[in-house]
Subunit: 210 residues, 2 copies
DNA sequence: CGTGATGGATAGTAGCAGTATCCATAAACG
DNA sequence: CGTTTATGGATACTGCTACTATCCATCACG
């Protein structure tokens, strides 16, 4: 398969494929002559994965690269794979909230975490995001939303278990790793859109005349 | 309050405030002389809201503008406010999946929606995202994740009800509208980070040695 | 052999979210 | 009152990201 066919098979423009090759997202094809390479089925699958992460989940290209690298080296423990997927989903945040607000939010968040019995390392990127978010909601006068944090956590735990269940059906470690990463990232988009749909239909009934 | 104090009160640099003023995100201050304006408490709150949407929820500035405009005009029905918030959360997507894949995904998705008894208009931005995502998961060989779609929908519905509940405690229509918009958008970040934390702790126990 | 694709390198682009600079005026301080 | 500092408003510039476009010296194919 040459680059043009790869392009036709996936719908990705040739220059874009070249760009991914340059950036190391897509492994080089096998050179049959100094300036002629051939690509195979793995390239097609890899390219589809890249596009799904970039287009559907809006993951930055640089992060996609990191994720793919860790998927390729089976030396990386599963736990670290998940960590990278998480980092891909949680952009670096410079603290927005005031110190007191963050202090208070952190207290509530750690309270919820321990009451749910979760074990979370204090470095987890999602932790700072959650704290910042709670602090922001408070600052914006949306305390009523925050009071339900515990209930949210419970509901969220429920479908997270479902996901882990679904992903665990994979036989090999490599497939498991890939599933975990894809599930973590595309699952985010999946749940987010389900939420919006649920919201639309519940709110439609509730506030028809407002 | 002059612009410097506004900046100190919110931690937002003066040039950035000027930028938001230019872009119409932040209403002009009251001019006390041809080149001197004064800002008030509403500006502080508005600025905090802008920053929360931009920094925490990563909403593009242009969308924030749209949302704020619809919040300001009480002529916009609540339902349309929600629509705008949803559009802020679902970037324009050009179709990625093949026609057959999308067809199949659409069938499953509408199945889930009707089995849950949701009423969703076919134009809903989240609907196309969901369909694309399901199609992508299938194409990537992650059917096991997709088979749980119904169960996900149920779990998601549960906490969406919680959110609607929380938001409904607002007395006035204006406050309700603001809460709905903030809740929709920051709630996304909130749930997303809760999910990642749950994932981390559940998966840590499950795959310790992989 | 001529036409068109290819690999590889380098340069250019569009959009986004600010930053930086200027300037004429106003405010605050000594 | 004079000097330093801040302000409103306009315009220009920057850094980053994700591509696109162009070139050119080969290949491949009919």
């Amino acid at each position: 398969m040459r680059i043009g066919e790869l392009s036709r098979a996936t719908g990705v423009p040739v220059p874009t494929i070249k760009y991914y090759l340059r950036e190391g997202l897509l492994p080089q094809g096998e050179l049959t002559s100094p300036n002629q390479a051939s690509y195979g089925e793995p390239h097609v699958r890899r390219l589809r994965l890249i596009r799904a992460l970039v287009e559907i989940a809006q993951v930055p290209v640089a992060q996609v690269k990191e994720i793919l690298e860790s998927l390729d080296s089976d030396a990386v423990p599963l736990h670290e794979q998940i960590g990278r997927a998480h980092r891909a989903l949680t952009p670096r945040r410079k603290p927005t909230a005031s110190d007191e607000a963050r202090e208070a939010a952190a207290a509530q968040v750690t309270g919820v975490i321990s009451s749910r019995g979760w074990s979370v390392e204090p470095e987890a990127p999602a932790l700072t995001t959650l704290i910042e978010t709670v602090a922001a909601l408070r600052t914006l006068g949306q305390d009523n939303l925050v009071t339900f944090l515990d209930a949210y956590a419970e509901a969220v735990e429920r479908f997270t278990e479902l996901e882990i269940e679904a992903v665990s059906t994979n036989p090999t470690r490599d497939q498991l790793a890939e599933s975990v990463v894809i599930g973590t990232i595309l699952g985010e988009t999946l749940i987010s859109s389900l939420r919006l749909l649920a919201q639309e239909s519940i709110s439609a009934n509730r506030w028809k005349k407002l």
